[in-house]
Each structure stands twice: as C-alpha cells, then as structure tokens.
Symmetry: C2
Subunit: 316 residues, 2 copies
C-alpha cells in the first residue's frame, strides 16, 4: 500500500512555492454550445478511482475531461483508460494553469480534508467551478474562505455530499416537508466502517482525519435534513479501542444534538465498526433507513406502511 | 384523576409513626403442601390494576392472595373482583401485621420509587419474600439496605424487571453467550412514551420520578444483558420541551456507556416521545428488536436471517 501520508506531505512541500493568482472568470466557462461540462478530478485515490471516474462515464451533463495528480504512473494509467488528452493532465505544481483550459469547467477536489480549502480556493481563482469532497474543510474559517473565494470569482461551490439527492432520502425529507408524521422527536443514527489500516491520512489530525470528520458528517447531515433545522447545542464523547493507531484522532465519536423545535439526536460515527442506520421518531409515527448512506441499496420502512427501497444502483 | 402525589404524601405521613418490627422467617412460608405461592400487591395503581392482577390469574406457581392499599374504595372493588378474603386486605398502617398471614408468601411492592426501600425492608422484616418494581430504588444506598434486609431475614428479593425472561430477549442474550456475531461494538436503544399528564408522582423528584428512572432502566438494562458487562463510564444529557411540567425531573435523558470490552452504548429515555427500539452492532453482524420492551409483541431480526417474533401475548 502506498504511504499516502508521506506522499501528501511531500506534495504540500512542493506546493509551498506556488503563488495563488486570482483570475477572472474563464470566458470558456459554461459555453452555450457545450453538451457536457468537463470535470477534472484532483486526487486519484480510492474514491476517484472506484466511484467517481466510473460514475462520470454514466452522467449526461458532465464528463471526466481532466485529472490532477502528483503520481506520473497514475496519470499514464488514467490517460489510457479514459482517453484523457495530455493537455488536460495536471500535477500539483502546474495546477493553476488549468485556468487557461476550456475543457475544464469544474474542478472536483478529492484530496485529504486539510487540502480542501487550498485547492478549492486555487480552483476558484483559476475561474473554475468547484466540487469539493466532504467534509468541506477542517475549520469553519477555512469553509468561509472557500465560500468567499468562489463568490469573488463568481464560480459555484458544491460539497460532495450526496444523500440529499438519493430517492429514499428525498422521501424522508418530504415526510418532514409534508409533516407526514408530525413533530420530529428523536433522530438516532450511526455510520461507520472498520478501517483495518494502520497508516492513513484519515488517522492524521493535521490532515483532517478522524471518524467524526469522515463518517460523522452522515448522521450529522441526516439530522439536519431530517429536521430541516440547525442544532442549537452539541455534546460529544470520543473513544478508541486501538490507541496505538488512533492516537491523534477519534476512532469513535458519539454525539448528541438539540434543535430549536425540541427535536433531539443521538448519533455515532466510527472507524471501528460496520454500522449504518437512521431511525426517526415522530409524534405520530416513525421511519428508518438501514443502510441510510451506502453507495447503493438504501432501504427502509415507515410506520404508515411505506417501503423505502428504490434499489438505485450505480453500475460499475 | 386522583391526585396521586397528595395521596402518597398523606400515606407517608400516616406511616411515620409505625415502627419496623423484625420478625423471624414465617413458619408458613413456602410450606411444602402449598400448590401456589400467595402474592400481595402493595399499591393498586395502573400497573397493578391493568397488568399484574390480570396476569396473576394466569400464573401456575403463584396467585393474587392479598392487597395493600390506602384507598378503601379500591379495597372493596378488588375484594369483589378477585375474591380476596378480608383478612388478606391491608392498609399502610396495619401492613406490618402481614407477618402473621400464612396466605401471603410474597409482597410485591408497586409503589412510587421513593417508597420501594421502606416497603421492601418492612416486607422483609415481616418475613415475606419481596418482589419490588423497577427501578429498584432512588439511591444505591437504599438498594444496599434492601438487599441487607432481605439477607438478614432470609427472604428472596427480586426486582420486577422482566425482559430477561422474554423469549426474543433471551435469544439475543444467547447471541452474546454463543458469540454468534462476534464482539459487541455498539448498542443503540431508546425507550419512551408520551406522558400527557400534568401532575403525577413520576414528575416529582422526591418520589423518584423522571424519565431516566422510569424508562431509562430499559435501555440501560438492555446494554447490560446484551453485553453481559457493567459499564465503566457513563455520560448523560437531560432535556425538556415542557419545562412547566418537567421542572424537577428529566423529560428526556440521552446517555452513553462504555464497557470493559470496548463496547459502547448510545441510549435515550423519555416521557416526551413514543419510542422503543434496540439495535446491536457486532463485528460480524447485527440484531435488533423494535419494540424491545413492550408488554407484548417483541419483534426483530438479525443479520443471519433470524426472525425474532414469538408473538408472546398476555391475555387481558
């Protein structure tokens, strides 16, 4: 297994000398005669390789037009596999010249969390729209800087959180919109997987690692889209059963939220267990999804007899 | 609706002058020729009226032989309904004379929680075995005094927590005993009902009220019987949406437990919502019950395909 941590640390050192140039919105952006928008993936790890690139072969409105990687071998492999022109292949040093490339409409940042802010801002300054993987960034301040950069450059910013587009999830959001089951009393949710690796940037605090950042966004966002509210109080507890590995970041976080309406949430996020459930208790009924955030096969039921199972699958 | 709080407070005042006499173990107790053990219910509220008395008509090894109540009208009604002899009807003043009654083998304490310790100790001192409703008492010290009194009088003490006898619950306890799904990672559980009353001893702190005492024992005990362990750390948060009613005790408590094996629990107990679920995540699978502590119809499933649904019902 590649040592991602040292790879990324070297890349960060390599980027230190690059100044950020603020470019005007590219005149090529969103040209009317383009059938599909071109997407450049930044960072070719598991998620880009196994999920995003295959999915971009199936999309109607956008396509994989470019890549940004620090690993020449990956560039060569992707170039052949997806017929990517040499001009659309960037490394972290020449990334900012993407501003001049009309094939790239959108930069998709799929890097470790600590790099999200920098590459989102650089992409925005290059006049490109930005998709940035979840979690958005490590701090609220970084998030605000990303939003500001995109606003200033008049480009769109979207975070790669997908559940709000999933049909069953949309259905339960509509339960709330339609007040189907009355007031929401309690959201119980847990998301986790067993990460058996011993060295990965997700175990590194400086790189934005930890179960809460990585998996916690799912129950956290579930609470937000289920209630339609923002929490007014937050409590959390962190645990680890593998202190030798999780000596910087949380292996498991339990957290509780209180919402203005009085709804409560009791949630879990973990790198130490395979768990994936969402259960919502309302005054006049309940609904649940299990799993609620898998890449395919969201399933569940509701107290009114609804079966939540659209069997949406991504062909790979 | 009867004002239970003032009733019980008056009863407490009435009992203040009664001294506790320590009797030897009744010679009538557990006589070999008795087919069924006689049970005296102490406190004739909803639980005794709607659940215990009907259930005691169906039991093979014990029967309803006596009652203890501070309300003469209730005594009269129960006497007629269940053919209870006058000699087996007590009030809180003459309760201790139950020591001399060979028809009463077991005293079942179904009083507000703050009275559990006193009546358990008085029953033990009267030489009677004791069943005491859950929660056992308000403090650990009270619990220890109850245990001591029963030990000293050589009578048995049992707490009226029933789930460990329920077939589906026994099945999941056996999952743990047989290590069916490997190590237990996370227990998620919630138990609650909407209590629409505005005045009840369960809302009174001095009487041992509060959602955690009343409903919290279900997820708490579920965590204990699911893991087979005692928690090594406990965290909790209390909330209320009806501060005018819940101004002394918790309407909702969320609580988290950590166990020696590394298992975690994330639980909820409430008087403000109807909720009843238990979900256990293990290294090699999961199982869940929903409801997990209803009076009938415990239902669930497991990742190995087991259907947990014995449809055990108490005829009423």
């Amino acid at each position: 297994m590649e040592n991602r941590r040292s790879f990324v640390k070297k890349s960060l050192i390599g980027m230190a000398g690059i100044s950020l140039s603020a470019n005007a919105l590219s005149p090529y952006l969103l040209a009317k005669n383009k059938k599909k928008l071109g997407v450049a993936l930044v960072g070719l790890g598991y998620y880009s390789t196994d999920l995003l690139a295959p999915a971009l072969q199936l999309t109607n409105s956008c396509y994989l037009s470019g890549i940004v990687t620090g690993t020449p071998e990956k560039a060569e492999k992707w170039k052949r596999k997806y017929n990517i022109p040499d001009n659309n292949i960037y490394n972290y040093q020449n990334f900012d010249s993407i501003a001049n490339n009309p094939d790239i409409d959108i930069v998709y940042v799929v890097l470790p969390t600590s790099m999200h802010a920098e590459f989102t801002i650089r992409a925005a300054n290059a006049g490109k729209h930005v998709w940035c993987e979840k979690p958005m960034a490590v701090t609220e301040l970084e998030c605000q800087k990303m939003i500001n950069a995109c606003n200033e450059n008049k480009v769109k910013l979207s975070i790669g959180y997908r559940m709000q587009h999933e049909p069953n999830t949309r259905k339960i959001i509509n339960y709330r919109n339609n007040n189907t089951f009355g007031a929401i009393n309690l959201v119980q949710s847990a998301a986790g997987y067993y990460d058996g690796r011993t060295d990965h940037w997700k175990f590194d605090k400086e790189m934005g690692g930890g179960a809460m950042y990585d998996m916690g966004v799912y129950p956290l966002n579930a609470c937000r889209y289920v209630t339609g509210e923002e929490p007014i109080s937050v409590m959390a507890q962190q645990f680890t059963n593998r202190p030798d590995i999780f000596n910087e970041v949380d292996e498991t976080t339990l957290f509780q939220l209180e919402f203005p309406s009085g709804a409560l949430a009791n949630c879990s996020a973990s790198f130490g267990m395979k768990v994936n459930n969402l259960q919502v208790t309302c005054t006049n009924g309940w609904y649940k999804l299990n799993p609620f955030q898998a890449y395919s096969g969201i399933r569940g039921s509701a107290s009114n007899g609804d079966i939540l199972d659209d069997k949406i699958r991504i062909k790979q």
